[in-house]
């Protein structure tokens, strides 16, 4: 494909308001949307705000919505669009706008703090950790997460419901909870916390998060559903419930 001029529509503005603006930008063979945004900065709009770091799909900084779909700008090739198609780039919608394509993602950092950290056995010395590969495989899948927050962005529990944000940690932190819960050497109890503090119950497994994950983590199948099952066993199994009442650990 030779060089051509693409029609690009980019959301410009800040927390007081803004709108879509049209640009015509050169596109070369093999380029991704982030290249086009950079060319726009270098040639037409030097102050266009965009967040990016590695441009290799590894850091999860350049999350945005392209034609309404949550994507990484650096991993979306221009060749996936027709040359005469207008490509619309907007900021991720679930978080407050800072400027142009940059949003305030501090929600995610607050939620990260609310999850009790890895708690190894107190007497286990560094160097003495022993774990089998098959026992850590599940947790390792969740640790592939690059924190692009596209799963948080797409999740309908908070995407259009600001009021749910306080009680809901979101898919990124459900996989964090699952990762720790499935860690062979973690001693903390996270199942009731997932349900009661992190809002696991709000999730009705529509799998949107799994669909947008650039790391292809099976968020719903491998983290959320198993966590829901564990919680159900603990919370709603009548025998477990009675046992908890009678022999409550302190």
């Amino acid at each position: 494909m030779a060089t051509y001029n693409a029609s690009l529509r980019v959301w410009r503005g800040d927390d007081t308001g803004g709108g879509l603006q049209d640009y015509t930008v050169e596109v070369n063979d093999g380029e991704v949307v982030l290249d086009i945004i950079h060319r726009l900065q270098a040639t037409q709009t030097p102050d266009l705000a965009v967040r990016w770091n590695c441009k290799a799909g590894k850091c999860g900084s350049c999350s945005a919505e392209i034609n309404g779909k949550p994507r990484l700008l650096c991993m979306t090739r221009m060749s996936t669009f027709e040359p005469d198609e207008t490509v619309t780039v907007t900021p991720i919608r679930t978080f407050p706008i800072m400027r142009d394509l940059v949003t305030d993602v501090s929600f995610n950092y607050q939620k990260a703090r609310e999850i009790p950290s890895f708690t190894p056995p107190k007497d286990l010395q560094p160097g003495d950790y022993r774990m089998q590969q098959e026992d850590i495989q599940r947790s390792q899948e969740f640790r592939k997460c690059i924190e692009c927050f596209l799963c948080q962005n797409v999740c309908h529990v908070i995407r259009d419901h600001e009021e749910n944000k306080e009680a809901f940690a979101g898919p990124r932190f459900f996989i964090r909870l699952a990762e720790l819960d499935m860690h062979p050497l973690d001693t903390a109890d996270r199942q009731l916390l997932a349900q009661e503090d992190a809002g696991l119950g709000y999730c009705n497994i529509t799998k949107c998060c799994t669909e947008v994950c650039p790391e292809h983590i099976k968020i719903t199948d491998n983290a959320i559903i198993p966590m829901k099952e564990r919680v159900a066993d603990r919370k709603y199994d009548p025998i477990v419930w009675l046992g908890n009442k009678l022999f409550r650990r302190t």
Binding site: Q41, A49, C54, K55
Partner: protein
């Protein structure tokens, strides 16, 4: 003027990659209040890009390994120009630093008996790299990030505030270090989000800002790599060493344009991938240098036999050290035997079944599939050299990480000495853990020994404010920062790249003078709220200064060694081995040199290696690198 936000801390760490975060943890564990200031979001640092692993002689896979063997490999890799004390500390302490990560929650791949698995890599005698598939850097940055969160949770439980002892200032860029009577008094920064200024008053600053790769056009580095720590240290009166040594990784992607420079892991060749030219020839057999003659396979049959059984044949020249392979690719392309997009071919498809490739190299498979529409299980990859790592950096005391400016410390890629003229793969992640911790400790000890806190004057604040706002001033002949940056990258890439010669370096220096002149007229549009044009204009000042260090040191070193190849001085010269080229900024003489100072390079001798360490090497090996006079005290000579 906008109101200035002020903070007081014991230690300010600049940079939130592996080295910075490890320094924060250490200083906090010593009871100090720490700020970590980073240009990016917390957890996005360049450390995430590391693939292969973290080198540490834990002896989990081969019990013959030891810190002494790791030390020897590191010195060999750096062609004996390394700071031997740093190489010693690094080899001794890296196992503890890796085990410690497990207590923070890291999940490395395991051996059959449940220990941390270790893999082979270029230049390491035994399997030594702790890893998680090909995403080890991500595991390390996330682990350190989560450890910091856990410390904040402890502080919240104890003091009622998550940020009582550690506060992360993310998307905040430091533009200037502020001194009081020659010692560190603070750091001046701006919030990227608002453009508002922040003053950190602190008696100690740890620089952990990473590398300088964004001064080169083709680079595997992310946007933050603009040499900020290098430049801040220079302007604060500290010295840089080894700036002429830059690692060009032989295999970066060359096509499509958008991904030119992105890394293709050495693991492709480690697992049997071979380099070919446009004639389909495995050309590396023609490029075995004389020092390695006899150590590498000379036929394809022998090389393929080595792959099946390491003990019955010599290793393939496709796995020569990175500098050798990068030069060979360069020569093939220049001779007209390159691929259509100016690289050579890397073939794994014909070497291994499809499923095996997907299992061993999952991220390479996806990287080429998603970015280049190339199925590496069917087709060859096109690859070429890419600027990857700077061996040079701030000259520090090996034990404490202290620079020559009192109160200034440095760790990780922005510090210099540890890797000599060439870094081994896997030694970067271990470097930042070992020396990140030591710099945090060094800063903590320094602060606790102070009787008075230094002061930040209003003059210093006003000067820093004025300099940061200068790009907004109206100019008669305005220069666009993006244009200047592109010209700088092109010039450094073409003239001070993999292969250098005097005329070209001179040409680059002339271009740098021109760019510095034009930089005085740099002007940006728009306001201060998240304005990338302004941010680039500020970073460009650092890139110009650091590029001058690279070019001036490269001009002065008239030999070829590791990451410095002179076409006009192609041999390694033992007389240069112990010489460090030390860069310092000349004191400002006028307005222009206040903005970007002149660089002065002086040759200085390193302290000779301690005899017990020198005796770890065979005399016959040292004779390849050392002068006769230097070896007079070696035990083999004396006996």
């Amino acid at each position: 003027m906008v109101e200035l936000e002020r903070h007081q801390y014991d230690v300010v760490v600049i940079g939130a990659g592996g080295a910075g975060l490890r320094a924060v943890i250490e200083a906090r564990e010593r009871g100090l209040r720490v700020a970590v200031v980073t240009k990016s979001l917390f957890g996005k640092a360049h450390t995430v890009m590391a693939e292969g692993g973290c080198a540490a002689a834990m002896r989990n896979v081969n019990t013959k390994d030891s810190w002494q063997v790791h030390f020897g490999d590191t010195m060999r890799g750096g062609k004996f120009l390394n700071n031997w004390r740093m190489a010693e500390l690094h080899a001794q302490e890296s196992p503890d630093r890796v085990w410690e990560l497990e207590t923070y929650g890291a999940l490395f791949d395991r051996t059959k008996d449940g220990r941390i698995s270790q893999r082979n890599f270029g230049g390491h005698t035994y399997p030594r790299l702790a890893h998680v598939g090909d995403r080890t850097g991500l595991e390390i940055i996330r682990t350190l990030q989560q450890k910091i969160v856990s410390l904040q949770q402890e502080d919240k439980a104890e003091l009622g505030d998550y940020e009582a002892r550690i506060k992360v200032f993310h998307e905040c860029s430091v533009t200037e270090l502020i001194l009081d009577n020659g010692a560190v008094a603070g750091a001046f920064a701006y919030w990227r989000e608002t453009g508002n200024f922040v003053l950190f008053e602190a008696p100690a600053v740890v620089l952990a800002t990473g590398g300088i790769g964004k001064s080169f056009k083709v680079s595997s580095n992310s946007w933050e790599y603009t040499g900020d720590g290098h430049a801040l240290a220079l302007r604060a009166g500290s010295a840089l060493i080894n700036m002429e040594f830059i690692q060009f990784h032989p295999t970066g992607m060359v096509w499509p344009l958008s991904v030119k420079g992105i890394l293709v892991t050495e693991g492709v060749r480690g697992d049997g991938g071979v380099l070919k030219n446009s004639e389909g020839k495995r050309f590396m057999f023609d490029y075995i240098p004389s020092v390695f003659k006899g150590q590498y396979a000379e036929t394809e049959e022998e090389a393929d036999q080595w792959l099946k059984d390491n003990d019955s044949a010599r290793r393939t020249p496709d796995l020569l050290p990175r500098d050798e392979v990068a030069r060979a690719i360069n020569s093939e392309v220049k001779a007209g035997r390159g691929s259509p997009h100016g690289g050579v071919y890397l073939d794994i498809a014909s070497r291994m079944p499809t499923e095996e490739i997907k299992r061993r190299l999952p991220s390479m498979y996806h990287q080429f599939m998603e970015l280049a529409e190339v199925d590496i299980t069917k087709d060859e990859m096109e690859v070429g050299p890419t600027c990857h790592y700077v061996m040079g950096g701030i000259e520090v005391d090996p034990d404490s990480g202290g620079a020559s400016t009192p109160g200034l410390f440095a760790a990780g890629e922005c510090s210099g000495g540890m890797h000599g003229s060439n870094r081994l793969g896997g030694n970067s992640l271990s470097d930042l853990l070992v020396f990140g911790r030591r710099a945090g400790l060094g800063a903590a000890d320094y602060v606790r020994a102070l009787s008075d806190r230094p002061k930040v004057t209003d003059e210093a604040i006003n000067a820093a404010t004025e300099l940061a706002l200068a790009p907004f001033e109206k100019r008669p002949n305005p220069e666009n920062p993006y244009t200047l940056h592109a010209e700088l990258q092109q010039s450094m890439n073409d003239l001070v790249g993999i292969i250098r010669k005097e005329e070209e370096i001179q040409e680059a220096l002339a271009k740098l003078q021109e760019l510095k002149k034009r930089y005085e007229n740099v002007m940006v549009e728009g306001g201060r709220v998240f304005n990338p044009g302004w941010h680039l204009a500020i970073d460009l000042r650092n890139m110009l200064l650091v590029s001058e260090c690279v070019a001036k040191a490269a001009l002065q070193r008239t030999e070829s060694r590791g990451g410095h190849t002179r076409d006009d001085h192609p041999e390694m010269d033992a007389n240069w081995r112990n010489t460090l080229l030390v860069c310092r900024a000349r004191p400002a003489s006028d307005a222009a040199t206040t903005v970007v100072p002149e660089v002065e390079v002086t040759a200085e001798e390193q302290e000779p290696m301690r005899p017990d360490l020198l005796n770890l090497f065979e005399l016959s090996e040292l004779e390849k690198y050392y002068t006769d006079a230097e070896l007079a005290d070696h035990s083999e000579r004396r006996s």
